[in-house]
């Protein structure tokens, strides 16, 4: 069961093409332990440091009422003690060894990380491995941490009008029986009520080697990383109950909602159902949607903010790497004295122009490609960005090669294709929308 499969990934060609020699001596190593733990190592010797991240395939998209937010709550409890280390000791030990550590939960994953000097690699792996299986659940700790999470929700959502708008957008854009409907942090009512047993069940169900990926980026030796992973995770049993999720996200259309909140500025968000790279049958579609998002974001900023000056902010978003069907979103804050309808009409006009006349975006398209190519190299400056993409792509099930083929995929898209994809997906009659009507803060 502890057989070791080492794969040296053949990424040198695409890297060579993308990064002009500078990365050609840096490879990526992938391995899978006999118990199913995936390992991804990227060597970056610019500084004597590393980041080690452990990614679990579990997040808000796996949750339902009345335990929404349980992945995030469990993430907090992961710092509250194991059979070996008492509550808070994980953070203390990492800190006194010069480490910077934290964790993050999202829709499709929960991840933990330590950034440290390269001499501390074994410590990081050893301690992360310990809490994969040995967490102790204390009611006393849960009682306090539940309050912390409720305060976190108040800070991130309740007291932030625009966060509430996005929370409501997901509620009306995704069916409540499927993924992506509920907020990552959970509904307040659920946070208030889950029991220690709910957390234990979640932990037992999802925290196993065959549901995780260890990603290490930095000045490390890949063989040593794999050996340490084997030493500290290798004895954990494969969990046969973990099956590929049969969940889906069901996108809805044509729903709208008006929120009257204690706020000063109006805010308007639209969503259009769209496939992600994972769910699309034609794998070029998501890249075209991604390109459409860039081109529209740049184009609308130019015409609506800079030239017509009818909007004070514009945002266009698309979640290429979501695990399930996702949304293409458009958001704006109108300029003072301008109605939402005026801005909406201008957006529709510009989208229609893009659809009818692909040449309209030719310049925008080639500049976007130049930017994406440069951004790919700029992103190598942070080991945390590199490990994020590797871990996320592995966890969502897309494969890490997507990180290195991204620029080529984007480069191959033509203006005509962007127009066609806009025509197909940007159907304003079917869009969902949330409108914030500010009531002042008195």
């Amino acid at each position: 069961m502890k057989a070791l499969i080492l794969l040296f990934f053949g990424l040198f060609h695409s890297l060579f093409a993308l990064a002009n020699n500078h990365l050609s001596n840096q490879g990526i190593t992938q391995a899978t332990l006999g118990n199913g733990l995936k390992i991804v190592v990227k060597v970056d010797q610019r500084a004597p440091v590393f980041i080690s991240q452990l990614w679990y395939k579990v997040g808000a998209s796996d949750e339902s009422r009345p335990t929404t937010g349980v992945s995030h709550m469990l993430e907090h409890m992961m710092f509250k003690g194991t059979r070996t280390y008492k509550s808070g000791e994980f953070s203390q030990i990492i800190a006194r060894n010069g480490g910077d550590e934290n964790a993050f939960t999202s829709k499709d994953f929960t991840a933990y990380y330590q950034k440290m000097h390269k001499s501390k690699l074994e410590l990081a792996i050893k301690m992360e491995a310990d809490r994969m299986r040995n967490l102790t659940f204390s009611n006393r700790e849960l009682t306090k941490e539940r309050q912390v999470v409720i305060e976190e929700r108040r800070m991130r959502v309740e007291d932030k009008p625009n966060s509430k708008v996005y929370e409501n957008l997901r509620l009306i854009s995704f069916d409540k029986k499927g993924a992506y409907h509920s907020p990552v942090i959970g509904f307040q009512q659920d946070i208030e009520t889950y029991s220690l047993n709910d957390l234990r069940v979640w932990y037992e169900k999802y925290y196993a080697p065959n549901n995780a990926t260890l990603v290490v980026v930095g000045d490390v030796n890949p063989v040593e990383v794999v050996a340490l992973a084997k030493q500290y995770f290798g004895d954990y049993a494969f969990n046969p109950n973990i099956k590929p999720s049969d969940r889906t996200a069901t996108t809805l259309k044509g729903n709208s909602k008006v929120l009257k909140l204690k706020a000063e500025l109006p805010f308007y968000v639209l969503s259009f159902p769209a496939p992600s790279l994972k769910t699309a049958t034609d794998k070029s579609t998501p890249y075209k949607l991604e390109m459409l998002a860039y081109v529209l974001d740049n184009g609308l900023s130019k015409s609506l903010i800079r030239n017509q000056q009818i909007a004070s902010s514009i945002g266009v978003g698309y979640r290429l790497y979501d695990k399930y069907d996702t949304l293409f979103t458009l958001s704006f804050i109108p300029a003072n004295g301008v109605s939402n309808d005026t801005v909406l009409k201008a957006i529709k006009t510009q989208v229609a122009e893009l659809i009818n006349n692909p040449d309209f975006i030719q310049g925008e398209l080639s500049r976007t490609k130049a930017q994406l190519e440069a951004d790919f190299i700029f992103e190598q400056d942070q080991i945390s960005t590199q490990s994020y993409y590797l871990g996320m792509l592995s966890t969502v099930g897309l494969g890490i090669d997507k990180m290195f083929t991204y620029v080529d995929n984007m480069n191959s898209i033509s203006a005509t294709e962007v127009s066609a994809i806009a025509k197909h997906y940007l159907n304003f009659d079917d869009a969902n929308s949330v409108e914030l009507i500010p009531q002042g803060v008195k």
């Binding site: 610019r46 800190a95 480490g99 440290m116 941490e145 309740e158 080991i383």
Partner: protein, 429 residues
Amino acid sequence: MRFLVLLLLFASSAQAKLDIQHWITPEGAKVFFAQTKGLPILDIALNFDAAASRDGDQFGLASLSSTLLGTATKYHNEEQIINAFEAVGAQFSTSSLKDMSIVSLRTLTRQPILKKSLDTFTEVITQPSFKQKYLTREKRQTLRSIEAGKQSPANIASLAFDKAVFVDHPYAHPKIGTQKSINQISLQDLEQYYQQFYVAKNLTIALVGDISKVKAKQIARQISHGLNVGQKAKANSIVLPLDQPQTIHIEFPSKQTHLLIGQAGINRSHPDYYPLYLGNHIFGGSGLTSILSDEIREKKGLAYSAYSYFTKMQSNGFFMMRMQTKNDQTNEAKNIAIETLKSFRNNTIDTQKLQDGKDNIIGGFALETASNANILTYLSIIGFYDLPLDYLSSFTDKIKDISAEDIQKSYERLIDMDKLIVLSVGAKK
């Protein structure tokens, strides 16, 4: 010394010790350069002493001036400038703080990309043309930002704290200005401001990336040469401690109350800089393991985040403890925070805490310069605040011998428990 030799033996060529080069351009701009290998990119930050503390009574002038850089030059309009940067994938940005306004560029070092992005960058900063239509637009955008700030209790609290701690000092007003002050700023004001403050003698240039020193010299010269020599801005007066305590509550319809407690602080040349730095790291500056977070969050579950920091600005910043909690827990959080600070000020910490704090800073110091972006920030700080060139390489040496008594005495000298500002924004008390 033995330790250093060992490190060098094991280091790969890409990891040569950070070598900071410093020179002054003929026009008088200070330049700080570090060559890094491994990525074909160059980062430049132009740090002008041209920020909110130079607003005079025209609040928001510095911020507007900074925003208008990049909207037009003598030879190109806004769309041409944006397109020129985008076409080579370069990232151009401006930001304006209270001590410095920063104009920055991130570009690939490959030719002809490097030349194109540097030429546009140089033109934008040395040949700007301030146009009324862009000023009018950016004023409207600023007024929108001021409105946006009014729906954020965190922002309201920050602005009110600045006013309370800095009183009538140039640091006291909001850097983006007020509705009234913004409306009064004219194109001539911007032009004058640029002529006076965007000058070589008022500039620190930081460069980091995979270019040679010869190339770095050429780039710094190109930028500096296009600017007026000018005069270095005169130092503002030092922020003084308040002579009495202040309790301020601002009513706001939020579920949480934002609580800010503090007083006037220090700048980077303060004699107690290092013990105060290490002390704050242990007290409230190191996340979940710090004393304040332990008392407020870990032991009581009162807040998601509870931390403290020094702003270390040129003319003295502030020291602040900050947290947010459910409205009806405000008093409890406030009392614990003040008691925790008092105890830290009056008693020496135990040796384990002291050692843990040092070990965290020293053991993790390599992380501080692990990316070009981080190094760029450090070079800017070293240059702008006239820190010694060995600031980074001697940092851990300065930390390692500090005693618990050094920390306690430095807090006793600085923190006056009887004159704290206690500021809250939230539901009616």
